[in-house]
């Protein structure tokens, strides 16, 4: 019996060699066909709220202020306001710029040189700044309705579920269950119509889809028409 077993062994070894060889062949083949190498998918589902040194961040923020404003209120509507934004959101986005899941002619370059500590510090710094004061939003506008109630007839979920009733971020009731990485969800209040439009457009087109959060927004944005996006932008920028 043992002899037969031994006799069989080469067969199994052969199979193993075959398997490893095939596996080895597969990897380079896949890599070469996918040039340039696509960025790894950013799974932020396990992202914990970050901590950083806001003071140190202030020192590193000089360059950022050129666009995002010295107090995190951007100098032009095509740039997002960062003041009072969720630190974790900012950190995750910086990381994604650096790693390539997000692409932007300016930000990709800016983030490329940042260390992890830099990103944490910067994120903490901007989060510590006072957000842009609330505006005179029209709570009966189409944008407000979309934001607060969505439009079930068209499959549009209300934004407030994740972004907060006041657009200042989610305030979940803790329930001990697996929950979304709430801290990675941005505050939207006061962002310019232009920026909101760009973001939703990127989600809708799939240009921004390489993170677990982006996948959610991709699904949401696909329910939105151009008018809806405009209405939301108008509402949020004045909120």
């Amino acid at each position: 019996m043992i002899r037969r077993f031994v006799a069989c062994l080469p067969m199994f070894l052969g199979a193993l060699v075959l398997a490893s060889a095939a596996a080895a062949q597969q990897a380079p083949a896949a890599a070469s066909s996918a040039a340039p190498k696509p960025p790894a998918f950013a799974d932020v589902r396990r992202q914990q709220p970050i901590s950083g040194d806001a003071k140190a961040g202030a020192g590193k923020a000089t360059v950022c202020g050129a666009c995002h404003g010295p107090q995190g209120i951007s100098i032009a509507p095509n740039f997002p306001n960062l003041a009072g934004q969720s630190a974790t959101y900012l950190y995750v986005q910086l990381k994604q710029f650096k790693q390539g899941q997000r692409n932007d002619p300016i930000m990709s370059g800016q983030a490329a040189t940042l260390s992890d500590a830099d990103m944490r510090d910067l994120a903490s710094y901007y989060a510590s700044l006072a957000p842009k004061p609330a505006g005179p939003a029209d709570e009966s506008s189409a944008g407000a309705r979309l934001y607060l109630a969505g439009d079930p007839a068209r499959g549009i979920p209300p934004c407030q579920g994740c972004h907060g009733v006041d657009a200042m971020g989610p305030r979940p009731e803790p329930d001990g269950k697996p929950s979304p990485p709430w801290a990675t969800f941005p505050h939207l209040r006061g962002q310019s119509s232009l920026y909101v439009g760009k973001a939703l457009g990127d989600f809708r087109s799939g240009a921004r889809a390489e993170s677990s959060n982006a996948r959610i927004m991709q699904g949401v944005a696909q329910t939105l028409g151009d008018d809806d996006i405009q209405a939301l932008g108008a509402y949020l920028s004045t909120r």
């Binding site: 069989c8 398997a19 269950k177 697996p178 979304p180």
Partner: protein, 879 residues
């Protein structure tokens, strides 16, 4: 691509078959109300689904990484990666398939019984899985096929097709192997047939025990096994608005052979004269004969199941009607065997063999109608069920003696009883079994939920069994009642005094105590139950149930039994995230006066012409004996299951349980106790890794008492009739007890990891250990058979048997490697290492040991140590 046309054709046929134009009702299936064939798998893949269980590394949700839990708190496994699908033709059909084939190699002690028990491992090619599925997304029609082939005795194929919500048809074919012994050395030729004959070299009555042992030692080793092959078709679907019908037929063939018996009267009492000769330690007697033969199994069972239910209520009634008919056919319903030994020393007597009636053909019918209706008060529901069943059998009966072993013209031993009076069916009072048991069931239930936190119910159940079989052991040829024991061999040895016959007016037989008719055991069971649960708060719920079970057995030791149960349950979520389910039950059984021998109506003293012997009827049994199904009982049962979520990725489940039964009997079963605990820990740190482990321990103990009768009184003293425990016939000195103490430990571990999406490795280890000790205690040597008094000393007897042990360690590893998206490799290995000891087989070490005295055994028992390995290499091809 080539395959698509035939596939389309197949689908068209299936769709045409079912056509299902009626889509008014939304139909679902009700497999869990029908017995059997719910699981299709094999040892290679017990789930029957392994190739499709690679988890999707993406998980279930973009919103959160970990899996949610069941309401109780166990983690749901991550979703499996869905197989690729391709369009089938131009319509809305898509399909998918998978084929896994390869070679299985076994090594080591592959003949070990426990290694083969339900797995027909061979060195041969095998199909691990052949699966095909097709689905029409527009219409919801589907076809699913799954099959696996380890060997012709170990395989399954199952096809399901239908339309979601409308109907489902199913067809299956399967073979389940069951190996009963791999160490069988039957002495007889003709194993598997109905006639066992002696091999050349044996002359009954002439060949000595040593000569027969020598022949036995040369018999070839055989495996005894039964293969269960079954096939079935069924349909379940909508029959109109709210009506769902079911129809199914299964047919099952069981084929093979298994250990059987064959008694030619005792050997053990005939141990004299003692030292030097027979009766000297280890020198067996030369009387009687016990033959462990082999019987054929050749059964067919055909079941027809029909069902019709209404789900929305004809006038508010939720109806469920089911009908079952089952037809069992035994194609080999008798077994004849030639005895190697004469029942008395010396040349062969007239009784040269024995015969068996194997199970008769039988038919069974059951109809059940159930209905539930909502009530206006307290959110109530009324539910009623009624069933009627009938089991029937009318096989031709065999002649009392077989003309082959007791030919006409001969007489039984020295009794003067002519064989010809007993070797034809003319000696029977009736030619057919004409046996029938009817059953009835009525169950009524009222349940109410008066408030959201309180509900209660009342349930009444009646079940009755009526045995209508009547058979009298009466020989019209002789006018005698009773029967010739053990194919007539008892009469050969003991003579007319205990031939087994009663005959009024015949001095030889007029005082013989014997059963002369069958006893038609029947019973009725009335049960009332009142129960309710109360939700104390969001976390705690208490339940209380009281059950009174009133049984009225007929022709049994008690005329009625009252079983009362009180069950308390507590379900709690007040221990953090954990869920506790706790139950405690107390049971008390009492009943009418216990009559240790209620069977006199079926025994000869009830017949006219019975002449009471001056010594009286031998005490059949002892008055204080309580059969455990009839005795008083106080029982408690406790169980607690605590399911504890640990973080978001792990679960700890702890179970503690125990029961204590006290039967209040000295003679009979005295007590039963079981205590056990289980801990299982499941950890799924990510979609690609799972870790499961468990540890279980249990100890149990069954204690019984018994008392040997004072055999010296039988036939010599009127004291023989005394049934009292502590009396002269059943003296305290002959009292003995036996205790079975078993300890079980089980532990297991499985780790599953997907190294890349292309390599999945599963490693498992399982450990099973059981240790059983049968101890005994006795007041004096009077507890032992008198024929051993001169041979055994108390030191020889000791107080226990050697331990029974079953220990099995199994290590398994399974690796799936995806070489390309369509081609993969599966490597499978299972290694097991076992140890077994059972004192029933102690000393049966080689075939020559199978003959001991006039006893011939077939089975050496399961192998005591074994190592065996299975290795398999498979190629997996898929769409």
């Amino acid at each position: 691509m080539l395959t698509r046309k035939p596939l389309s054709a197949c689908l068209a046929v299936l769709a045409g078959l079912a056509c299902a134009p009626v889509v008014w009702a939304q139909s679902d299936t009700s497999d869990t109300q029908r017995v059997g064939n719910m699981q299709f798998g094999n040892t290679l893949d017990p789930t029957g689904w392994a190739p499709f269980t690679t988890p999707d590394p993406m998980g279930m949700s973009y919103l959160h990484p970990d899996q949610l839990r069941t309401p109780t708190g166990a983690l749901y496994p991550y979703p499996a990666q869905a197989p690729d699908e391709a369009p089938l033709g131009k319509g809305d059909w898509t399909y998918s398939w998978l084929l896994q084939f390869g070679y299985i190699h076994t090594s080591g002690d592959r003949n070990a019984e426990f290694f083969q028990m339900y797995s027909d491992w061979r060195n041969a090619g095998a199909v691990g899985m052949l699966a095909f599925s097709a689905y029409n997304r527009k219409t919801g029609q589907y076809v699913e096929f799954r099959g696996s082939h380890v060997s012709d005795k170990d395989q399954y194929y199952r096809l399901r097709a239908g339309q979601y919500g409308s109907y489902r048809i199913e067809a299956f074919f399967r073979d389940i192997p069951h190996v009963l012994s791999t160490d069988a050395y039957p002495l007889w030729n003709g194993v598997g047939s109905t006639n066992l004959t002696l091999p050349p070299g044996i002359t009954p009555g002439v060949s000595s025990q040593a000569q027969i042992a020598a022949v036995e030692a040369q018999r070839p080793r055989r495996t005894l096994s039964v293969t269960r092959e079954s096939e079935g078709v069924s349909w379940e679907g909508a029959l109109g608005r709210d009506w769902i019908g079911y129809g199914g037929v299964t047919n099952e063939n069981r084929n093979g052979d298994r250990d059987w018996g064959g008694s030619m009267f005792f050997s053990y009492p005939f141990l004299s004269p003692g030292p030097g000769g027979i009766g000297t330690p280890s020198v067996p007697g030369v009387m009687g004969g016990q033959n462990e033969t082999v019987r054929p199994v050749d059964f067919t069972t055909t079941d027809i199941n029909l069902g019709l239910r209404n789900k929305a209520g004809a006038s508010g009634w939720l109806f469920n009607f089911t009908m079952t008919a089952s037809f069992f056919r035994d194609h080999k319903d008798y077994l004849d065997f030639t005895a190697p030994f004469g029942v008395l020393p010396g040349p062969a007597t007239s009784i040269t063999g024995g015969t068996f009636s194997l199970e008769p053909d039988n038919n069974y019918y059951n109809v059940r109608l159930e209905g539930s209706h909502a009530l206006k008060w307290w959110n109530g529901q009324f539910s009623a069920s009624a069933a009627y069943g009938s089991m029937r059998q009318n096989d031709t009966l065999q002649a009392p003696l077989n003309a082959m072993f007791c030919p006409s013209g001969q007489f039984i031993g020295t009794t003067g009883i002519p064989c010809s009076d007993w070797n034809t069916t003319a000696a029977l009072s009736q030619q057919n079994g004409d046996a029938r048991i009817d059953t009835g069931l009525v169950n009524l239930r009222l349940s109410f939920r008066p408030t959201a936190s309180f509900n209660w119910y009342a349930n009444v159940r009646w079940y009755g069994e009526n045995n209508m079989t009547r058979y009298t052991m009466y020989n019209p040829l002789t006018g005698q009642y009773g029967f010739l024991h053990e194919s007539g061999s008892q009469a050969v040895i003991i003579g007319n005094a205990e031939a087994g016959l009663f005959q009024a007016g015949n001095p030889l037989y007029e005082s013989y105590f014997t059963q002369f008719a069958n006893i038609p055991y029947s019973y009725n069971d009335r049960q009332g139950e009142l129960g309710g649960t109360y939700q104390l708060n969001n976390q705690n719920s208490l339940g209380l149930t009281y059950t009174l079970d009133h049984q009225t057995p007929q022709q049994r030791e008690r005329t009625y039994l009252n079983d009362q149960h009180i069950k308390l349950t507590w379900d709690s979520k007040s221990f953090g995230d954990s869920t506790l389910r706790f139950s405690y039950e107390y049971q008390k059984r009492t009943g009418g006066p216990y009559n240790a021998f209620p069977y006199m109506n079926w025994y000869s003293p009830s017949l006219p012409g019975y002449v009471q012997d001056a010594l009286g009827v031998v005490a059949y049994t002892v008055d204080q004996m309580y059969k455990y199904d009839m005795s008083n009982l106080k029982a408690t049962k406790l169980k607690a299951i605590l399911t504890t979520p640990l973080g978001n990725t792990a679960t700890l489940t702890t179970t503690v349980y125990g029961n204590r039964n006290h039967y209040g009997a000295d003679i009979g079963r005295q007590s039963v106790g079981t205590t056990g605990a289980d801990v299982s820990f499941d950890w799924t740190p990510s979609a690609t890794t799972t870790f499961n482990s468990y540890l279980s321990i249990e100890s149990s103990r069954i204690k019984q008492g018994n008392v040997a009768d004072n055999e010296a009184l039988i036939g010599t003293s009127p004291l023989q009739a005394d049934m009292e425990f502590g009396g002269p016939m059943y003296p305290y000195a002959n009292f003995w007890t036996a205790t079975d103490t078993e300890r079980d430990a089980n532990a297991g571990l499985t780790i599953s990891h997907v190294f890349t999406p292309r390599v999945k490795l599963d490693v498992g280890y399982n450990y099973t250990y059981s240790h059983g000790v049968n101890g005994y205690d006795y007041s004096s040597m009077g507890a032992i058979s008198p024929s051993y008094w001169n041979i055994l000393t108390t030191a020889d007897i000791g107080n226990s048997f050697p331990a029974n042990i079953y220990r099995l360690q199994t290590l398994s590893a399974n690796m799936n490697i995806a070489l390309t998206p369509r081609v993969g490799l599966r490597l499978y290995s299972q290694y097991e290492f076992g140890r077994f000891a059972d004192w029933h087989y102690t000393g049966f070490d080689s075939p020559g040991d199978l003959v001991i005295g006039n006893r011939v055994y077939t089975d050496l028992g399961p192998q005591t140590h074994w190592h065996a390995a299975v290795l398999g290499a498979f190629v997996t091809l898929k769409l």
